[in-house]
């Protein structure tokens, strides 16, 4: 070990600090900045992080520069650790110990990174390649975590690393030598670095502007990929289960599966077993056991005799379907349909049921799914751990009748225990004698059926079933019993099957199939039973509607009140109106006796979100990425579940250090927030926070004044900008085909175009170089420069014309190759040029004339000898051009000294 302070060596070290370590510290600072946007660490002070990093870097670099080895390394690091242990043991509190340890871990990691970097920079000549690799990987990782990814964003992040790499690339050869602080040299060196960086930047910009459209498409695809997660894996699944939306109950859309708005009976039905959603229903029997309810999607109230389908009808008397798009609701905001509350029918035995619903991405998310008669909805976030399964969630509140329950609406109760309950329900409903007292228009609408042909025979059948009875509920039971009838052998006449039609022919009218179902085959799936009973009940004067939704199956008692809904649970049934009680579910579908699907296991229910004490609907005014804080302005808030609009706009700082940031319901990084974004800022009720309790009678503005400053945010939801959304929708409408096919072909096409562009550019490079040479000849002012440019241009043009210089010197080349072939006076020029280049003599008279004549002669001679066309072709020969720039043979044996 040589620890003598040699002043010359020390000077060299100082120079290296300036030229190597300073840029490395700067790039370290930049990288740490980016990392801090993306990841939350205990200390957000980048300055101190950089400080420890540079400390390690400087220490290692200086030590190893003076030839330190492992002993020194070990001793020094051990002393540092020992010091830290001493400090820890003296700390008083447990929290302090934890805090210091955590900080020590972070800072020592950075220190060691700095140390390793320093070591590499001293010991390995090509260390900058390793550093460049590490830095670019770190940068890429921090970029990939961002959702609003764009080309400029990528460029902004990658650019410093690229510049650093180039800088070190230029620098590295001189590091092994003694560096003299020569002003002229360093200026030249610096200008080279700057020029090259500018060139890289230019290349980036040109690429971006040339391929802007394509890049946008790629970006969009990237964003879609980021948002949709492992889309490919799901696509494969889709291929596997052969769900066919032509004959299923659901349509496949871009936003997932949705139940059809119109339904007809088909010859067969497709099913799939994808998870659609899960829900928690706060509906229990008095003994505490869960009481499931069917989840309703839509009511199909009208029968279209022309198309022979059941359809939704907007002009229905007393619409009782909440019409709101949950995705349009900001997070934590609720929507309550007051007309639903006003017009709600049936107040007897009515209760209010609350439910939480979490939709998977398979589900159409623009309509409300919930127990019948939902009147209020509030959006809630999905817990982070469940975001892979569920993409959105909401709380709903609905009216339901005590008489409604998935157990007793079902045709035959699952358990004998429930039969008495079912009977109870029927007895309760027997109090309804008829529909004379209610609105005639309402009854007429819901009992309307076409007449003639098949419909008449259905009517006849229905009337024959119920000729003796008068009460509506008995009519319903009679229809039910019709489906439950057994033949003389005790076997059921009707059975459940997914393949209802004898012939798989979509052209058979559905009324005909319904007829076959009732009178001939006696086999069908839910739509058949629902459709047939609707006709029969309407014939009998009972107001009935066709309902689509999901059958609820209670799978286990493990998670009480939680239900999982799979695509195969998509269902259709009838609802019957009873004055005073409202619409009640009656499901006539027969259980599938042949095939009992194995019950699917329960999933893990998502944790309920914490209760927020404050939800702000705010606008970001300024964002500080370093301290992770922002200034916001707002005039709308939800304070302890009470929405309020403030009379003026408040501005408050927000502390988002440990905050979760979401965009379009997906986690993103804090860097995704830009000033001007509208945000939903959520703060949970938490013991540690000083939460001002609401005071009754005090104006809300006064209470807002008392809010802590800054407000500690737990969640920030970036609202999807309306403009973006519209653009997206417009794009979707404009090119539905492209949207669908934006798959591998599209991407391959774009990538192909990009590669083709690059290749074209590559092939044009030889010509660009020629143009560059010719321009330099025109622009060069003094004789030396002119001779120089003419010399290089001549060599290049001769090479491209096919007269390559091999290992001979230029003079030999001129004497033996060029002049015999072209006789353009190359040798004379060469002698003159060599004199200019290597002698210290002055320019002589006539030199300029020789140079000028040669410049003209050689151009003419080349064109004359080889022909313009042939040469032009040669310029596209990239290999040939590259040979010109190659230095021949084994020059790589040089510079191996270290």
């Amino acid at each position: 070990m040589n620890f003598e302070i040699n002043s010359e060596r020390f000077k060299q070290l100082i120079i290296r600090w300036a030229v190597v370590l300073l840029p490395t510290i700067i790039i370290g600072y930049i990288t740490l900045r980016f990392l801090n946007f993306s990841y939350t660490s205990l200390s957000t002070s980048i300055i101190s992080q950089t400080f420890y990093f540079s400390l390690g870097l400087l220490a290692a670099y200086s030590l190893y520069y003076y030839g330190a080895r492992w002993v020194v390394t070990f001793l020094l690091l051990w002393i540092l650790y020992w010091l830290f242990e001493k400090i820890i043991s003296r700390l008083p509190g447990e929290f302090d110990v934890f805090y210091t340890t955590a900080r020590f871990q972070l800072y020592s990691t950075l220190f060691i990174f700095g140390w390793v970097f320093g070591f590499l920079l001293v010991r390995i000549k090509w260390a900058y390649i390793i550093l460049f690799g590490i830095l670019s990987i770190v940068t890429l990782v921090s970029i990939s975590d961002t959702i609003d990814i764009s080309l400029s964003y990528i460029l902004l992040h990658i650019f410093p690393v690229v510049v650093y790499g180039l800088y070190m690339y230029f620098l590295s050869p001189i590091l092994t030598e003694r560096i003299d602080w020569d002003k002229k040299k360093s200026a030249k060196f610096l200008s080279r670095v700057v020029l090259f960086s500018l060139l890289v930047l230019l290349a980036f910009i040109v690429t971006e502007s040339l391929l802007k459209g394509n890049v946008k498409a790629v970006e969009k695809e990237l964003a879609a990929r980021g948002a949709k997660g492992d889309k490919d894996g799901k696509n494969k699944n889709k291929d596997k289960d052969n769900y066919d939306d032509r004959d299923g109950l659901m349509d496949k859309t871009d936003d997932g599966y949705r139940l059809k708005d119109t339904m007809r009976v088909n010859s067969k039905m497709s099913q799939s077993d994808k998870l659609m959603f899960c829900g928690k229903l706060d509906n229990y029997f008095p003994d505490g056991s869960p009481a499931p309810l069917y989840f309703v999607y839509h009511y199909l109230t009208r029968y279209d005799p022309v198309k022979e389908t059941f359809t939704r009808d907007v002009n229905v008397p007393s619409l009782d379907e909440i019409s709101v798009d949950p995705t349009a609701l900001p997070m934590y905001y609720s929507y309550t349909d007051t007309t639903m509350i006003r017009k709600s029918k049936g107040r007897k035995l009515r209760k209010i049921v609350e439910a939480q619903v979490y939709l998977s991405e398979n589900t159409w998310k623009h309509s409300v799914l919930g127990p019948a008669s939902v009147f209020s909805i509030q959006t809630i976030p999905v817990e982070k751990d469940f975001q892979k399964t569920f993409i959105s969630g909401y709380k709903i509140t609905s009216f339901t009748s005590e008489l409604n329950n998935a157990y007793f609406v079902y045709n035959i109760s699952a358990s004998p225990k429930l039969e008495p309950l079912q009977e109870q329900r029927h007895n309760e409903l027997r109090s309804v004698a008829g529909y004379n007292k209610i609105d005639k228009e309402f009854v007429d609408y819901y009992t309307k059926i076409p007449t003639g042909g098949i419909y008449d025979s259905i009517s006849k059948l229905a009337l024959s079933l119920t000729s003796k009875t008068a009460k509506p509920v008995d009519k319903v039971i009679a229809v039910r019993d019709f489906f439950l009838k057994r033949n003389e052998n005790g076997k059921r006449i009707f059975r459940y099957t997914l393949k209802a039609g004898a012939v798989d022919d979509p052209n058979i009218p559905s009324s005909k199939m319904l007829y076959n179902f009732l009178f001939k085959t006696h086999a069908g799936y839910c739509t058949y039973y629902a459709g047939a009973s609707l006709f029969m009940l309407r014939t009998l004067g009972v107001p009935t509607r066709f309902t689509t939704g999901f059958a609820t199956i209670n799978r286990s008692d493990k998670n009480k009140g939680w239900y999982w809904f799979y695509a195969s649970q998509a269902h259709a049934w009838t609802q019957v109106y009873f004055p005073g009680y409202g619409w009640l579910d009656f499901d006539m579908t027969i259980g599938n006796e042949d095939q009992q699907g194995a019950p699917k296991p329960d999933g893990t229910p998502p944790l309920p979100p914490p209760e927020p004490w404050l939800v702000l609907n705010a606008k970001a005014e300024s964002v500080d990425l370093i301290t992770k804080s922002l200034i916001t302005s707002f005039n709308q808030l939800i304070y302890f579940n009470n929405p309020a609009v403030l009379s003026r706009i408040f501005t408050r700082p927000i502390d988002a250090t440990l905050c979760r940031v979401l965009y379009d319901k997906r986690d993103t990084t804090f860097a995704a927030i830009h000033p001007g974004d509208s945000l939903i800022i959520v703060s949970y009720k938490d013991e540690a926070k000083k939460i001002p309790q609401p005071r009754a009678g005090v104006p809300i503005e006064m209470q807002v004044e008392a809010f802590p400053s800054p407000i500690i945010a737990d969640e920030i939801h970036i609202r999807v900008k309306e403009k973006e959304k519209k653009n997206e929708d417009a794009a979707k409408k404009a090119s539905p085909l492209v949207e669908k096919k934006m798959t591998w072909q599209e991407i391959a096409w774009i990538v192909g175009k990009v590669i083709a562009g690059i290749i074209l550019l590559l092939f044009l490079l030889p010509i660009f170089y020629l143009i560059y040479c010719l321009l330099r000849i025109l622009l060069s002012r003094d004789v030396n420069a002119k001779a120089d440019t003419i010399y290089h241009a001549a060599l290049y043009r001769l090479h491209m014309a096919g007269l390559e210089r091999e290992t001979e010197t230029p003079l030999e080349y001129a004497q033996h190759k060029v002049d015999p072939a072209l006789s353009a006076g190359f040798e004379e020029f060469m002698r003159l040029y060599l004199r200019l280049k290597y002698s210290n003599g002055k320019l002589r008279d006539g030199d300029e004339a020789v140079i000028n004549t040669f410049g003209k002669n050689i151009a003419n001679a080349i064109n004359k000898k080889y022909g313009f066309i042939k040469i032009a072709f040669n310029y596209f020969n990239l290999l040939k051009a590259s040979h010109y720039f190659q230095s021949p043979q084994k020059s790589d044996y040089e510079n191996q000294s270290l």
């Binding site: 001779a787 230095s887 040089e894």
Partner: protein
């Protein structure tokens, strides 16, 4: 410049009238002489080495007073090296002078201007090293007296190819003393025909050699060769070349710094021989083989043929790609 180039031209042309078909080799010999160095010719017997040396000596008149030659030119001595030759055969010895009753020094053949050391590798190493002292130091030590040689002392040594029997190959350290090592080789068919017809017809060639230069001309030309300008880029190129010989994996021993110095000296002389007062990249190419090759030890025969050439090609190419430096 013009006078000296004319003189050099007449010298080379003069030698060319005797030695046919070898203009390049003649130039090498002249360049080595102007660089104040010595040259080693490696060839089979009968290629014209002796004739070359003699002709060179005879072309120069008016040697210094000490050693006048009998036939007009500067002093020329020839030593045929044999295994039993002793150092004193070269240097001379003290002989008892009966008249003076004292030992007087009888000068050996080394006291001359142009020395032809024939088949140097046949002599024992002892004799070889005696020759090398005077080549390097331009002086001769015998007993307690040291004799200075004339400033113009030029040795042309010849050696048989190493493979031949009865030879003591020169060690690398001694080879290093020779500025250049060239090989004559055989002449082409036409030249040989020309030699057989014309040279024989003339008869005894010695008498036809003209004296074209004087002793002082040579001293002057040597001075002039020293003043030839070497561009810094050329020097850098030579530094790179010398360094690369040390790092080449197939070269066991690279060139010494003395090798590099010698190279630059030879380049200057070579430029002068080619009527230039500055060195160009072609000179490096022309001289690398004769000046550097015998200083290197190669790992194998293949490398011996190609390695140096590759390095020189790379270096020359680098210089050729360079623009005019530092001139505005």
């Amino acid at each position: 410049m013009t006078t000296s180039s004319a003189k050099l031209k007449s010298l080379t042309e003069n030698i060319e009238t005797i030695i046919r078909g070898k203009p390049q080799e003649i130039k090498y010999v002249v360049a080595a002489m102007l660089a104040r160095g010595h040259i080693l010719l490696e060839d089979n017997p009968g290629a014209g080495k002796t004739v070359l040396a003699k002709t060179l000596a005879q072309s120069i008149s008016e040697g210094s007073a000490d050693f006048q030659s009998t036939n007009g030119g500067v002093a020329f001595k020839r030593i045929q090296f044999t295994p039993d030759l002793l150092p004193m055969d070269l240097i001379g010895s003290h002989i008892f002078d009966e008249a003076k009753k004292d030992f007087v020094f009888k000068k050996g053949p080394l006291f001359t201007h142009v020395l032809l050391a024939d088949e140097i590798n046949r002599a024992s190493p002892k004799v070889q090293s005696a020759l090398l002292e005077c080549m390097a130091e331009n002086q001769i030590s015998s007993g307690d007296t040291t004799f200075q040689l004339d400033p113009f002392f030029f040795t042309i040594a010849t050696q048989n190819p190493i493979e031949m029997e009865g030879t003591y190959p020169l060690p690398a350290a001694q080879l290093d003393r020779f500025y250049m090592k060239i090989s004559f080789g055989y002449v082409s068919e036409e030249v040989e025909f020309d030699i057989y017809t014309n040279y024989l017809a003339i008869g005894n060639g010695k008498s036809t050699v003209k004296q074209v230069l004087t002793y002082s001309d040579i001293i002057h030309l040597q001075q002039e060769a020293e003043n030839v300008y070497v561009h810094p880029e050329i020097v850098k190129g030579i530094v790179r070349l010398v360094q690369s010989t040390r790092n080449h994996p197939e070269i066991a021993l690279g060139s010494s710094t003395r090798g590099g110095i010698t190279f630059i000296k030879c380049l200057k002389a070579w430029a002068l021989v080619n009527q230039r007062d500055y060195v160009i990249e072609d000179d490096i190419r022309a001289l690398a083989q004769p000046v550097l090759h015998h200083r290197l030890i190669f790992r194998n025969r293949e490398a011996s043929r190609t390695a140096l050439q590759q390095l020189v090609d790379a270096e020359v190419n680098k210089l050729a790609k360079l623009g005019i430096q530092g001139k505005k």
